[in-house]
Amino acid sequence: MLTYLLRRLVILILSLFLAAVVLFVLLRLLPGDPANALLGVGATAEQIEAARAQIGSDQPLIVQFGSFIGNLARFDLGASFVSRAGVLEEIGNRMSVTLPLTIIGFLLAIAIALPLGIVAAVKSHRWYGAAISIVSQLGIAIPVFWLGILLVTVFAINLRIFPSGGFPLKGWANFGEAATAMVLPALTVALVIAASLIRYVRAATLDVLGSDYIRTARVLGASFPEALVRHGIRNGAVPVVSILGIELATTFLGAVVVEKVYALPGLGSMLLLAIQQRDYPNVQGVLFISTLLVLLIGFAADLLQRFIDPRLRGRRSEP
């Protein structure tokens, strides 16, 4: 287990480094000098020089890369070109919207997908079992933003139950308003994630149902639910947990898009604004932190999977 942990940790750090390289290369591909973003249209040659020196874009690429990696390693993400606010601080503020949205959406998705997926498998010969499968197939073809627009139309505009978007200026200090503002966005993310999750839960349950150990348990006198709970859950959980990691990352990225639908001041809107304003430190910071989160989630999911399934522990890694 410890060797595996170390191996996986090395992979995690390498991944992060590679992510930083990709970020660096892509950001250098952006047209024009980043210094231009600091200046107005009528800037003089001296002003441009000064700005370049300030940002460091007059240095050779290798020096720029070195300081770029060094800063990332120290979590020094710099300050926004536009607002002058610290990037990390701004990301922290934005996370107070994106993180709850991701977590609530994810938990809601599991709460929807687990029972429905199991029912779809156990009752696959009944009409409602088949119906769940079909609806979940449909769900994976629906882009998250369209589902958001549909939910807004029904629940905010026609039924007027929830606000169509926005977030209280005071944030979570205004708890009631903030919570109601979260309902539709979280539901949007949850439904899309649940649709794909149901398929995995259903497949895992079908595998468990057809397995020899359930039959043996039944022969030994256990009732069907008893056999399922005692032997099925742990076996069925293994493939589901590995997919949960991917789904959590997808939830996070889905949240970024959903923020646009509901005009929520989260990480996604920060990134969009930064791209429009060519605010390089913000673009870079959001992308780095997002990638970091996605990689950390994958790391945690891999470890958790090993923890649940003792059979995996002996193995070095997947082929």
Binding site: V22, A130, F145, V294
Partner: protein, 274 residues
């Protein structure tokens, strides 16, 4: 409730995708209205003249949804082509490479797959000076290539272990000949199924980019941009927020069904399964 038969799945997929292909091709030679012209009242509801109503500038919405079909097909085909060319090449290279290079490539691919595709696509699109359809296609194609490469590598390695490869090798066939004659035909069916799935993903990814305002500008507007514009007027003209979405979902379901149907057709071992 009886499950649909495998043949029905394939037929359903072909019909849905075929419908979009016909509409997309038709939009090249004939459109009901000038896509940029004001052809009716603003935000008028669906009528015989305007099947899906008009947008806030009085442009016929059905015309734009038709163009959207063409754009989606171009995006899907282009992104899958790029993903396939880069991915299959890299995957084959990894399968043939020395142990060390193969390990390095495999690890790199795993890392690239872990990247948030949409975020990378956003950055690539932002990197090109003006958002164009091509930059979106390129970004999505590159993102897909890592998935294709990993799959190709695994499939090719499996085939390489088979006896007839050794037989071909001993009878003097060169490695390029083996790739063309034995490996590609063997892995093509599985790859095709995967390409169909990637096609659907690419269309949805492009629509998301467009929705976020990072897609191609009008008149080459994709369904994503139509939806973004219609969101603002959803109260007065809800049809605008529904029609492009239905078109998108029908295409996505179509390619998914097509992929499922193809998989069962190519892989006899799955035929009996539910």
């Amino acid at each position: 409730m009886k499950r649909p038969t495998k043949r029905a799945t394939l037929t359903f997929g072909i019909i849905l995708v075929g419908l979009h292909v016909v509409v997309g091709l038709l939009s090249l030679v004939w459109l009901p209205y000038d896509p940029t012209g004001m052809t009716g009242g603003r935000l008028s509801p669906p009528s015989w003249e305007h099947w899906a109503g008009t947008d806030r500038l009085g442009r016929d919405f059905f015309t734009q949804v038709m163009i959207g079909s063409r754009i989606a097909l171009i995006v899907g085909t282009g992104a899958v082509l790029i993903g396939a060319i880069i991915g299959v090449t890299l995957g084959l290279l990894a399968a043939f490479a020395s142990k060390l290079l193969d390990d390095a490539l495999a690890a790199t691919l795993d890392i690239l797959i872990a990247f948030p595709t949409l975020l990378i696509a956003m950055l690539v699109v932002a990197a090109s000076d003006t958002a164009s359809l091509f930059s979106a296609i390129l970004a999505i194609g590159i993102a897909l290539s890592a998935i294709v490469a990993r799959l190709t590598r695994i499939l090719a390695k499996r085939v390489l272990l088979l006896d007839y490869i050794t037989a071909a090798r001993t009878s003097g066939a060169s490695w390029p000949a083996i790739v063309v004659e034995h490996i590609l035909p063997n892995i093509a069916p599985t790859l095709m199924v995967n390409f169909a799935l990637q096609f659907g993903l690419a269309v949805i990814a492009e629509a998301s980019l467009s929705y976020l305002g990072l897609g191609a500008p009008p008149p080459n507007a994709s369904w994503g941009r139509l939806l973004q514009e219609a969101q603002g007027t959803v109260y007065t003209a809800p049809i605008g927020a529904i029609a492009p979405g239905l078109a998108l979902v029908s295409l996505a379901i179509g390619v998914n069904r097509l992929a499922d149907g193809l998989r069962d057709r190519f892989d006899p071992s799955r035929r009996g399964r539910a």
